[in-house]
Amino acid sequence: MSAGRVLIVDDDPQIRRVLKIALAGEGYETGEARSGEEAEERLREMRYDLMLLDMNMPGMGGLATCKSVRESSDIGIIMLTVRDREEDKVAALDAGADDFITKPFSTPELLARIRAALRRAPMAPDSGVQQCALGDAHIDFQERKVTVHGKEIRLTPKEFDLLRYLVLHPNRAIPHRELLRAVWGPDYGEEVEYLRVFIKQLRRKIEAKPDDPAYILTEPWVGYRLRLPESL
């Protein structure tokens, strides 16, 4: 089983390669990005537990990337930099980084900091709820499979991500903006109509009575709330 998913963001291919080998040796799954923009793309495509982020990169720098990612995600972020000045550390931590490590660093120290960051990180979806039952619907997050009355139902990746976010934050009214940013990305926030249509589709696929939903509830003027059955 994977120890966690780590996204390595650095413009230097050598550093990415070395980090990838070191992390793979410890059982981490890794993803790579060469820039801040690419990192945001990767985060939209897949859920990561931690991001190793280089501070000095061309284009969108490390600080800007950190701020932007932090707005929509609670992923652990460790900044990597050659600078060792106090103000750089302060800027990185203020931008939302959880930790800061100066190059050159030793692999054992980096791995220890990753472990510490992962301990502090909020429960990641893949390491938390693996399966969930909503009435007759059974959702397997690991296999990305939904079955209703034993029959497999096809959900699109977006529908699945939306459902997963709702299940991870049960019994809480999630505002439209938060849902949109978490599922569609940081560029979204006003497109409430997208949510309306996707939620309607989800209800049609999962709920026994889509017009009178028992689990995916609308919170008028706020957003949506997933009511989990008591037994869960």
């Binding site: 096809r154 109509e193 997208y194 996707f198 309607k200 589709q201």
Partner: protein, 165 residues
């Protein structure tokens, strides 16, 4: 009973890159219906529809009403069908996906919506937003009242600029 509308054209808008058809799995696919409300408005509505269609694995249908006044026979519209097709060619030039299109000749577009749209359809109307409701905003509201899921897509290009550019 005599119908006040007539399906004049049904086809597919195709452009440079056509999205491959997803495999058929027997499930009824969601249909996103875009109502034609002028070229620029419809482009915005189509953009929104494409964005949603990809996430929902839905298909897009563009419905075009062409109103024919009562003095003329229903089958003889005052605007030539070739002109309408020309508008679609303009749309096709800037779209990168395939969309089913239907042109209806009708006496009144609201009657057409009542007849053509299935109950609880997801309908996308493009238009611009103003403090005083525009024709398109009113249409979206009316469709909502009719029980459809009406989505109002705000046009980036003001209507009219596209055709005269």
């Amino acid at each position: 009973m005599a119908y006040d509308f007539l399906l004049a054209y049904r086809g597919k808008l195709s452009a440079g890159a056509i999205r491959p058809e997803p495999p058929e799995d027997g499930e009824r696919k969601l249909e996103l219906i875009v109502l034609f409300t002028g070229v620029a408005n419809t482009l915005k509505a189509l953009d929104t529809a494409m964005c949603m269609a990809e996430g929902l694995n839905a298909r897009v249908r563009l419905v075009v009403p062409q109103t024919v006044p009562y003095p003329l026979p229903l089958a003889s519209p005052p605007v030539l069908l070739e002109f309408t097709e020309d508008c679609f060619r303009k749309i096709a030039e800037v779209q990168s996906v395939e969309t089913a299109v239907e042109i209806f000749l009708c006496r009144d577009s609201y009657t057409l919506w009542q007849e053509v749209l299935l109950p609880h359809s997801t309908v996308i109307v493009g238009g611009s937003k103003r403090w005083w409701p525009t024709k398109e905003q009113r249409l979206a509201r009316r469709l909502q009242k009719m029980g459809h899921e009406a989505i109002f897509a705000t046009a980036a290009i003001p209507e009219g600029k596209f055709l005269h550019a």
